[in-house]
Subunit: 134 residues, 2 copies
Amino acid sequence: MFSNSTKYAIRTIEYLLHNNSDEKKSVVKLAAELDIPQPYLSKIMQQLSKGDIISSSKGRGGGFYLSDENMKRPLIDIVVCIEGYNVFDKCILGLKECSDKNPCLLHKYYGVFKASLVKPINQDSIKELFKLPN
Amino acid sequence: MFSNSTKYAIRTIEYLLHNNSDEKKSVVKLAAELDIPQPYLSKIMQQLSKGDIISSSKGRGGGFYLSDENMKRPLIDIVVCIEGYNVFDKCILGLKECSDKNPCLLHKYYGVFKASLVKPINQDSIKELFKLPN
DNA sequence: TTTAATTAGGATATAAATATCCGATTATCT
DNA sequence: AGATAATCGGATATTTATATCCTAATTAAA
Ligand code: SF4
Ligand code: SF4
């Protein structure tokens, strides 16, 4: 469903969200903490930063963090930033078009799937989505 | 979610199911009909045949078709045959373990997803799953 | 002002998925 | 028997995803 890069991105952002102290997190720390190849994660973070999904500050004591604005974005924005498009807009069987008018035979199942998993991913802010249970 | 190869496999098997005349279908026909690269589809069909997901007969007039046994298998068997494992058993965030005891923050959505899409894919026979609407 | 810690960015390496090619084998038809 | 139409199977090519490496730019602390 998600590429490796996207999985790394989501996990890292969830981590940032739940460890949102004043202290910014360096790639070295994040990679160690989340068990992700460090130079690879570095590239991913760069891309997310460029896409305004996360925030960064350079130099000593710098690192990555989430601004209030960042936290308002839905999870799908992370996916789009990394993969280049919304994976849920594509047909799961690779057909050119998916429509309610001309449904394939997985359509009825896919509808429920969309409502259950895709809707929160597309609409809820990550802050809301990843809210810790009380 | 599914690899390209798996998508091709599913689409081809759905086609075989709905065009299940006496006549066997050659790869050349199937590839043309379904708009799939012919030599590539050939490889996929070989693999499915080896895994007893579909049936084949060699020689002139031969081709691929679905036996009654073939039609009883659930869709997941196609996926496993091509990808080598059940993609739905893996964590969608790439974590080592997914359990109800130690849930991640997508867990509550994932449950509904499994019930809605994964259950029929894992359990219903393709004949049932791909039943034409009345 | 120097040093150390950090992100940014370009170039490259490796692995996996996707796709093609060709010869061998098998069965049917003439 | 010979020609033809098909699957089978191995080898290889191409493209994309994954991962690493190195240097520059920036900022804070010493
Ligand atoms: S419902 Fe059918 S056509 Fe639409 S995305 Fe799913 S598989 Fe594709
Ligand atoms: S519920 Fe969480 S841990 Fe389990 S598969 Fe989904 S994302 Fe992974």
